[in-house]
């Protein structure tokens, strides 16, 4: 299986036209908004907004099908174990108790628990479209410039650029090594015992790391020779200048973030929206 880190495709939509830094900032503000809020009305509203943006950026369902399956599995497991560990947590949060269904022992379904878990489900789910939009509409070349534009040290930003640059190389090495070791008899199937799978993993990791270590020295020489780290700042060839729509997008995302907080502070008087009192 080959994974492309950013399955970025060059389309011309209003979202694609925004600069990378705008997308990063809006992504963070909108994500933080739903991460902070525990108000299902806010969360659903933001989620609908996210789904609209998903349409605008012309992302096809086939592109994100696999991710969706992963997310769904994660959410369902999370829901089950939450209930298993803390069936009364909703009651604790909302302070009332309306029982719907007796299951057995301490496992009774309450409206409060159902509401808490539903809110949480959407809270997790609402972040996903933003992440997907960011990943699929941002030119990876712009990514490091965006990080640096947000005030992150340019050296750290460049480390991220190097990750994106060398990921495909290392993925290919990983595949070659894995195949060569399988030929020598390495079992990667699930048949092997736990300890054996652990040991077998090392047979791939060791060559992968040691052949990469060789390259680290070479690449850092190449960068030193071209003046990396000479000054306290550096410019970015792929940095896009911010336009009117960029500022607009940033303002909208900041507003949404502020409104979310205001709703919590003034309307709900808590992070939680409580329909039970």
């Amino acid at each position: 299986m080959k994974i492309k880190l950013f399955s970025y495709n060059r389309l011309d939509t209003p979202i694609h036209r925004l600069s990378g830094i705008t997308k990063l900032i809006t992504f963070l503000f909108l994500t933080f908004a739903v991460m902070f809020s525990y108000d299902i009305r806010v969360i659903i509203a933001v989620m609908i907004f996210a789904l609209i943006l998903l349409r605008v950026s012309k992302i096809k369902f086939s592109q994100i099908k696999v991710m969706m399956i992963y997310v769904l599995i994660f959410l369902v497991t999370n829901a089950i174990i939450t209930f298993f560990f803390a069936p009364e947590y909703g009651v604790e949060i909302y302070g009332t108790r309306h029982e719907i269904l007796k299951i057995f022992g301490r496992y009774n379904l309450t409206r409060e628990q159902l509401f808490y878990q539903t809110t949480k489900f959407f809270k997790y789910a609402s972040v996903i479209p933003f992440g997907i939009i960011f990943l699929l509409t941002t030119d990876p070349s712009e990514f490091a410039a965006s990080l640096s534009g947000m005030g992150i040290s340019y050296k750290v930003s460049y480390a991220v650029a190097l990750t994106l640059r060398y990921f495909p190389d290392i993925q290919r090495d990983y595949q070659d090594i894995s195949q060569a070791q399988q030929a020598r008899g390495l079992e990667i199937s699930k048949k092997a015992s736990l300890l054996n799978r652990f040991k077998n993993a090392l047979l791939i990791i060791v060559p992968l790391i040691f052949s990469t270590i060789e390259r680290i020295e070479l690449i850092s020489n190449a960068m030193d020779l071209r003046g990396f780290g000479k000054f306290k700042t550096r410019t970015w060839y792929k940095k896009k200048k911010l336009k009117k729509q960029d500022y607009l997008a940033i303002i909208v995302s900041v507003l949404i973030f502020i409104i979310t907080i205001l709703i919590s502070v003034f309307i709900n008087k808590s992070r939680f929206y409580n329909p039970f009192i």
Partner: protein, 573 residues
């Protein structure tokens, strides 16, 4: 008036901290502005270290003890930092994937300017200009995976020229390139030299390939010292190359075989300048005197057959397109073709890493389609190019034993078999050694041993000699010949023309996933169509034959191969 040198070493010595002895001894060398210099020497001769001293990696990145002085443009390098030197000297490293740090061509070219805080508009302008110089202006948005080796190298070159440096230093520029791209690289360097008058320093051990264009002086290094500093004509006619373990140009070898004593006034430095009048007669006589070997009439037994095999990753782009060929038992053959022609895919399909979409693979007449990767490994073993990608254990013994341990063979039998294989591979004394203490060539042998332990009947080697100097090349190839004599069939994926000529009588040539030739190495190395489609180049023997007026050039090359085999056999006895 004497010019003032742009680079000047005076009694210069250097010792890495990790080394017990200096790597460079008493270097005295002057390089004048505008000169084009070639530095040759076997691996470990200190030629790369000399390059590091010039570009400032010593002492910036590699610490050590310096004696004597080195001035670049009158600056004492020890007192300068690497950033000042990088404005004077641009370095193109041998590994263009390592040097290509940008996500796209444009970014990579702009890298040095970004570090200099150049404004975006100016960067765009300069990137456009310099990329046009190396013919890359249409590919500014391409990522390294979409580029050929040659294009990556051009990008590297543009990336250092963007700073308008005075000196260009090329560290083994040919090591990772196929012959045609290597030739093109030498031409580009020559063009830049002629157009800009920059000082050019090329570090390389492939003398003949560099001497395709003019060089002012060749510096020969051996064990950290300069042993020669002369023009190509003088060098080629001396005995220095042979003593130093550097391969002399093939046409010179041919002249020597013909009993001609090569001298400086024949102008033998370049084939184009060689005075053919004096050599033509003896050469022709020698050619006619070579006896043709008797055709082997015995019918060989086929061991492996690919029958109309096709493969594609995405269902659209055919990587292998109806590939058919067979390999006889005990053969040693080469699979050649440019990058992306499908060479490595053939290896993957043979080993079962990928399953062909159609067609069949037969081993001794039996279809192998149902055999797993693990089962196929007992028939066909694959040795990867970089030994570090195969080595996963610390000790030689454990590494070689791995394949057997994973097959639950009992420990006593493992010990026996590992011992035997290590003896065959000349590694018996190292059985308890840590692998990290071995040389590159020995590591390579460890990886071959770790494949041979499974007793495969066929082994495939991916670029077994890439990046190796003449001595290590010979060492590896002699070893493979021995393995071959023990009955192991050997398939090599390569674009090393010497390898084809000297060791594999037959070559299968691929282009765009199709087999375009399956014939004698002498034909592959002289046929224009094949050469062009496989990114090879004519051997200099072909050009020599042409210059002296031998009409059947392929036969001349074949005769040379036959003669050389005779020389090698008698020298072994």
């Amino acid at each position: 008036m004497r010019q003032k040198p742009i680079i000047e070493f005076i009694n210069y010595s250097f010792q890495y901290y990790s080394q017990a002895e200096p790597t460079l001894h008493d270097i005295n060398l002057k390089i004048n502005p505008g000169e084009k210099i070639l530095i040759v020497g076997p691996s470990g001769s200190g030629k790369s270290t000399l390059g590091y001293c010039i570009n400032g990696l010593i002492p910036f990145s590699y610490k050590g003890k310096i004696k004597g002085s080195l001035k670049v443009q009158d600056l004492i390098t020890e007192d300068q930092n690497i950033f000042i030197l990088s404005k004077i000297i641009g370095t193109v490293l041998q590994d263009s994937d390592g040097q290509f740090v940008g996500l796209t061509v444009g970014e990579d070219i702009a890298f040095a300017m970004e570090n200099d805080n150049v404004k975006i508009d100016e960067m765009n302008e300069r990137v456009r200009k310099v990329s046009a110089k190396v013919d890359m202006e249409k590919l500014l948005n391409s990522s390294p995976f979409e580029l050929s080796g040659g294009q990556k190298q051009k990008t590297s070159l543009a990336g250092v020229m963007v700073d308008d440096v005075d000196i260009l230093l090329f560290d083994e520029p040919l090591a990772n390139l196929d012959p045609a791209t290597g030739k093109a690289t030498i031409e580009i360097i020559d063009d830049i030299h002629k157009q800009t008058g920059k000082t050019i320093i090329i570090i390389e051990h492939r003398l003949e390939d560099v001497l395709y264009c003019d060089i002012d002086r060749v510096i020969v290094m051996e064990e950290g010292r300069i042993v020669a500093d002369m023009c190509p004509d003088e060098l080629v006619s001396s005995s220095i190359l042979v003593q130093d373990g550097i391969r002399e140009p093939l046409y010179v070898t041919a002249l020597k075989y013909a009993g001609i004593s090569v001298s400086k006034d024949m102008k033998p430095g370049y084939l184009s300048s060689l005075d053919v009048n004096t050599v033509s007669q003896p050469l022709k006589e020698w050619y006619q005197s070579i006896k043709k070997p008797e055709e082997e009439s015995e019918e060989k037994q086929s061991i492996l057959r690919m029958d109309n095999v096709s493969f594609s990753y995405d269902g659209k782009h055919q990587i292998l397109d109806n590939v058919s060929f067979k390999v006889d038992k005990g053969e040693m053959i080469a699979i050649v073709g440019k990058n992306g022609a499908g060479k490595s895919t053939i290896a993957k399909v043979l080993c079962g890493f990928e399953i062909q979409d159609s067609g069949d693979i037969y081993y001794q007449g039996q279809n192998v389609i149902d055999k797993s990767i693990k089962e196929r490994a007992e028939i066909i073993g694959l040795v990867m190019q970089n030994p570090n990608q195969m080595i996963s254990k610390t000790l030689v013994f454990d590494e070689v034993a791995l394949g057997l341990r994973l097959r639950n063979v009992d420990e006593e039998e493992i010990r026996e078999r590992v011992k035997k294989i290590l003896e065959i591979c000349g590694l018996a004394p190292f059985i308890e050694w840590p692998i990290s203490a071995l040389s590159f060539g020995q590591k390579k042998r460890v990886t071959i041993a770790s494949i041979l332990i499974l007793d495969p009947k066929i082994i495939i080697l991916d670029e077994p000699t890439a990046g190796q100097d003449y001595r290590h090349y010979t060492e590896i190839m002699k070893f493979l010949e021995e393995i071959n004599k023990l009955g192991v069939t050997i398939i090599m994926i390569t674009h090393d023309m010497h390898l084809m000529q000297e060791y594999t009588p037959r070559a299968v040539v691929l282009a765009e996933g199709k087999v375009i030739a399956d014939t004698h190495a002498s034909v592959v190395l002289t046929d224009h169509e094949i050469i062009k489609r496989a990114n090879l180049k004519e051997t200099s023997l072909y050009n020599l034959a042409q210059r002296v007026g031998i009409s059947d050039k392929t036969d001349f090359v074949q005769s040379f191969i036959n003669f050389e085999k005779g020389v090698r056999v008698s020298s072994e006895d």
